[in-house]
């Protein structure tokens, strides 16, 4: 498998920002993920070739970090903060509501491929807890009603 020209150029740009181009290993994964939503084995191998590292080395990095998806995800990834401030302000209720209204557990993807639900540690939105991220958008002060309203915004 080959990466797209856009991906290759983006990775090469990242490689140029470091003394050692291997440092772009993480960025390469992120570039691929940005273009494809997740990082398949084949895409990882192709990215490894661009960076000049082995697929095993890429995998070592990919499996270390939280934000690299090595499995397909839905169109919108919901990351619900499970850290302390949100926990104190209603995380459990938000979690239960998300799980039951989406019909999935953490790590799951809805059947229509719309949402993937993941827990995430502190989002830095602590003053608006409970908080979550849908795609790149932050949402705070979650209540079951607000969650329902927010979810309808994502098709």
């Amino acid at each position: 498998m080959e990466l797209s020209q856009g991906e290759i150029e983006a990775i090469q740009h990242e490689m140029s920002l470091y003394e050692d181009s291997g440092a772009a290993t993480i960025e390469a994964l992120k570039v691929v993920q940005e273009h494809r939503g997740w990082v398949s084995d084949e895409a990882m191998a192709a990215a490894a070739k661009v960076v000049g590292v082995t697929p095993t080395q890429m995998e070592a990095v990919a499996t270390f970090y939280n934000l690299i998806f090595r499995q397909p995800v839905g169109r919108h990834v919901i990351m619900l903060c499970d850290s302390i401030s949100c926990y104190l302000t209603g995380y459990e209720e938000a979690r239960d509501h998300l799980k039951s209204s989406l019909g999935i557990d953490f790590g799951g993807t809805t059947e229509d491929g719309r949402f993937t639900l993941l827990p995430i540690c502190c989002l830095g939105n602590c003053d608006r807890g409970p908080a979550m991220r849908v795609g790149e958008d932050y949402h705070g002060d979650l209540t079951p009603e607000r969650i329902d309203a927010i979810l309808t915004e994502y098709k």
Partner: protein, 896 residues
């Protein structure tokens, strides 16, 4: 130097060391996991906790990790401290929370560092009540088994595989308490030194699959001090056997050679010993052309007949057999009729190698020493394939740059991670000129790919650049001259430069060039070192013993001067083109072969005598640095199999010149008397009569439990251990075992509380990672030729016009004995011809298509592949069991 106190005892210690290494050297039992004498400290496992006190007044002290603590002067430490002991016990308890406790079915059981450390810390009560996490395992190929659930995440495997061996397909994956050590998917490890993981892993995650296939408990094996027979380096091994089956090869520590690590060919290449198709009876070819077994007394008469009627006998020895076997054959046929078993080109290159060693006998690097060299020039050798263990040493040599940066920043040398972090991708310079891309290219500065004559020229030019009285070669092009100058400047300014050459291209000029370069360099730098590699385990021994080459032996048959060939552990098809060997065998009246494997020569022989392999014989080998080393019989084979030299003696007797020697001691004495150049081999190991406190040295560990049960299916009565007539070792667990045993007789490593090979050996070393107590085994045979500086050798090279064959060696396949081991056979690459892209165009063959090529009178057909590294008009030909056997070098070809 520093004075430190450990548990109230004062010690003068090396202040550049860490406390754990020192404590272990001083005999303390301090548990550890992530530290390893070669991998040094990273402080990950937190097992080696001790109490450290700031000064004499400090009563509180604090817990530190011994492996991360420098031995600074005045340091005061307590191992025997309640809090430190509590920490150590707790670390084990944490490590064991997820461990499956499957010791009864674990291949590591009995030599498991985790078992030892658990016992040592006193963790016996399990308090963790949670479920254990589990992993799926990977298929890692024929060598290594994977059982990740046993993992305690000490990170040693990746630190060895990646940081030490530069392998890239084993990594720590995942994170928190879900770290996983594996590849990105199933598959055999890519690195040629993967087998060491078996010993590096402190528990049963990576275990020896070849042992697992016919598993028995580690303590129920009979071992012997072994010498690896699969290349010229002479790594020390500890082969283990049970009931006449060779079970495994383990590393045997030798401070100056292999120390803790072997290559995969050495570790997994011994399977040929257990092959079903080995000749186990005397065989005679009957009238129908079929080999038939014969009883011994019948065979005696047959052989008497053969020698009585022979019209001239020539003996062909073998550079893979011991000096004893070869000498006994020489005795049988007479020195003038004895051939070394080497092809002409190999013999000439080996002689050039011997001459180089003799010129620089005081400046020969050991494998261990290579690690401390800070600039290297390699001429011609694809070391990873021809003398693999050197490649691993060179990978350490390149890190001297890291150590240099570390020293400049006051980072101690044992601080492994910090040394690596500061060193990054800066390497000590390694230059290499080979005929094609090699597996070392990743650490080589601008690797050169040249035809053999150009490699020699480059070497001569470097010599000339170092010393302009050294003979020059013809005008070089500008780039090459610039490179030559750069190499010369680098070697000159290095603290300890090293030159490596070898015989694999069959070109004496390359070795002569290395010899000259060394000559020039040694005048500049006392510390300069030379390292020459040879083709086989005893190539140098045979070069020293002397004899004709194989072609000369063939000529005796072809000319009718002789009609009987006696071949000792050699396959003629590996030494000369097939048509010629066929013709010689056809012409000879008798072809008597003494061998342990069913070689092609055995397949064509008239008479076959089943010789013992290395596992079934004692013998002396001379490694590439001229070190004579003794290997010992691991087990006694079923009669009538016996040592090659015993067969040769028996034959000499029927031929009417019964030798005066009886056992090994006699034989060795006779060798020394007849061949003064080999004087010293008698010192390679103690004689048969040597005893310690009246005792022999055991082959089996004290814990050996199987003596009565071992043959219970045959007879429940206990057999008497056989008495070893040839060595001071015993075939049992009885005898003296301990630190003052001569190291050459140490069959296995064990010490109370320390059951794993790599940890137990500490008790037998002067200090961890240092020489063995009593000195590392072996005797240097090569002595300098007089005091005067030798003359430079003329810079003569032999060029081949037009297309030239360059041999492609492979660690798994080129060496014929290991290639017969099933595990190695599985890893043998498919044979292919390779040329560069232009070459493929010229030949008009598309890659993947079969190319038919006539080389030295033989036609070979292999698929063609493109290798951009190959020089113009060279064709890379796989040599050995996976390709072409009996290739004579140099050889030109005329592809149609």
């Amino acid at each position: 130097m520093a004075t430190i106190t450990i548990d109230g005892q004062k010690f003068d210690v090396d202040d550049t060391e860490n406390l754990l290494a020192v404590a272990l050297s001083k005999g303390f039992d301090l548990p550890y996991f992530c530290w390893h004498p070669e991998l040094h400290s990273v402080g990950a496992c937190r097992q080696c906790a001790v109490k450290s006190y700031r000064n004499d007044e400090d009563e509180q002290g604090m817990i530190v990790m011994a492996c991360m603590t420098p031995c600074s002067d005045g340091g005061r430490f307590e191992i025997d401290d309640e809090q430190a002991a509590e920490m150590r016990a707790q670390v084990i308890e944490w490590l064991m929370t997820n461990h499956p406790h499957d010791c009864p079915v674990c291949e590591e059981g009995g030599e498991c560092h985790l078992q030892d450390m658990t016992l040592m810390t006193g963790h016996t009560q399990r308090r963790y009540r949670g479920a254990k996490r589990t992993h799926t395992n990977q298929d890692l190929g024929p060598f290594i088994n994977h059982e990740m659930n046993r993992c305690i995440a000490c990170y040693r495997c990746v630190r060895y595989y990646r940081d030490y061996a530069d392998g890239d397909d084993l990594r720590a994956l995942g994170s928190h308490n879900n770290v996983y050590f594996g590849r990105e998917s199933d598959g055999a490890f890519d690195n040629e030194f993967s087998g060491n993981l078996v010993e590096v892993c402190p528990t049963g995650v990576f275990t020896d699959k070849t042992l697992g296939a016919h598993y028995n408990r580690k303590w129920d094996m009979q071992n012997a001090p072994g010498i690896c027979g699969h290349c010229s380096l002479g790594c020390n091994t500890s082969p283990g056997s049970r009931q006449g089956i060779l079970k495994r090869i383990q590393n045997r520590y030798h401070g100056e050679i292999n120390h803790y690590f072997l290559c995969d060919r050495g570790r997994f290449g011994a399977g040929f010993v257990n092959r079903e198709d080995r000749p186990r009876q005397p065989l005679v070819r009957n009238a129908d052309g079929v080999l038939e077994p014969r009883e011994m007394d019948v065979m005696h008469d047959v052989m008497t007949d053969v020698f009585a009627n022979a019209q001239g006998v020539v003996g062909i020895g073998s550079p893979r057999a011991s000096l004893e076997d070869n000498f006994a054959l020489r005795h049988l046929v007479g020195a003038e009729h004895f051939a070394t078993g080497m092809a002409g080109h190999n013999q000439r290159a080996s002689q050039a190698g011997l001459a180089a060693l003799q010129s620089h006998a005081d400046r020969l690097a050991t494998l261990r020493e290579i690690e401390s060299c800070d600039a290297v020039l390699i001429l011609g050798e694809d070391l990873t394939q021809t003398a693999a263990r050197v490649a691993l040493s060179l990978r350490q040599a390149r890190r001297n740059k890291h150590l240099e940066y570390a020293a400049a920043n006051k980072i101690p040398k044992w601080h492994a991670r910090a040394v690596r972090d500061i060193g990054q991708y800066n390497n000590s310079p390694i230059f290499s000129a080979t005929t094609q891309a090699t597996r070392l290219d990743d650490i080589v500065m601008s690797p050169q790919r040249l035809r053999p004559d150009a490699i020699a020229e480059l070497g001569f030019a470097v010599a000339h650049a170092l010393d302009n009285t050294a003979p020059a070669v013809k005008q070089l092009d500008k780039d090459t001259q610039a490179l030559v100058d750069a190499i010369a400047t680098t070697l000159k300014s290095a603290k300890k430069p090293l030159i490596i050459a070898g015989t694999s291209l069959g070109d004496p000029a390359i070795i002569n060039a290395a010899n000259n370069a060394m000559q020039a360099l040694s005048a500049i730098n006392e510390a300069a070192r030379l390292f020459v590699t040879f083709a086989e385990a005893n190539s140098l021994g045979l070069a020293m013993l002397g004899g004709n080459d194989v072609e000369t032996a063939f000529e005796s048959i072809e000319s009718g001067a002789a009609d009987t060939l006696v071949v000792m552990q050699n396959c003629l098809y590996e030494r000369a083109p097939k048509s010629r060997v066929d013709a010689v065998i056809k012409q000879a009246k008798n072809v008597v072969v003494l061998d342990h494997s069913f070689t092609r020569t055995v397949g064509e022989a008239t008479h076959v005598l089943p010789a013992g392999s290395f596992a079934e014989a004692d013998g002396t080998l001379v490694n590439n640095e001229g070190r004579a080393q003794r290997f010992f019989q691991v087990f006694i084979p079923d009669a009538p199999m016996q040592e090659g030299w015993r067969w040769a003696a028996d034959l000499a007797e029927v031929a009417g010149h019964k030798p005066e020697w009886q056992g090994m001691d006699d034989l060795i004495a006779k060798i020394v008397a007849d061949c003064p150049q080999l004087a010293g081999i008698e010192e390679a190991a103690p004689s048969q009569s040597f005893r310690k406190f009246g005792m022999r040295f055991p082959r089996s560990p004290h814990r050996f439990s199987g003596r009565t049960a071992m043959y219970a299916n045959v007879d429940v009565r206990e057999r008497r251990p056989t008495v070893d007539a040839d060595s001071p070792l015993s075939y049992s667990m009885e005898g003296y075992y301990g630190e003052s045993q001569p190291p050459s007789t140490l069959a296995y490593a064990w010490s109370p509380g320390w059951d794993s090979n790599q940890a137990a050996i500490t008790r037998f070393q002067d200090e961890v990672g240092g020489p063995l107590k009593g000195g590392d085994p072996g005797v240097h045979l090569v002595r300098k030729n007089g005091d005067s500086t030798p003359d430079f050798i003329a810079a003569e090279v032999h060029a081949v016009d037009g297309w030239q064959v360059v041999p492609a060696y492979h660690i798994f396949g080129s060496e014929s004995q290991s290639a017969r081991a099933p595990a190695i056979a599985e890893r043998m690459p498919a044979a292919e011809f390779r040329v560069n892209a232009d070459g493929a165009k010229t030949l008009g063959v598309t890659p993947g298509e079969t190319l038919e090529l006539r080389i030295d009178g033989e036609t070979h057909r292999f698929p063609l592949a493109v290798d951009p590294s190959l020089p113009k008009q060279t064709i890379s030909v796989p040599v050995g069991m996976h390709g072409v056997c009996g290739l004579r070098l140099p050889v030109g070809v005329k592809p149609e």
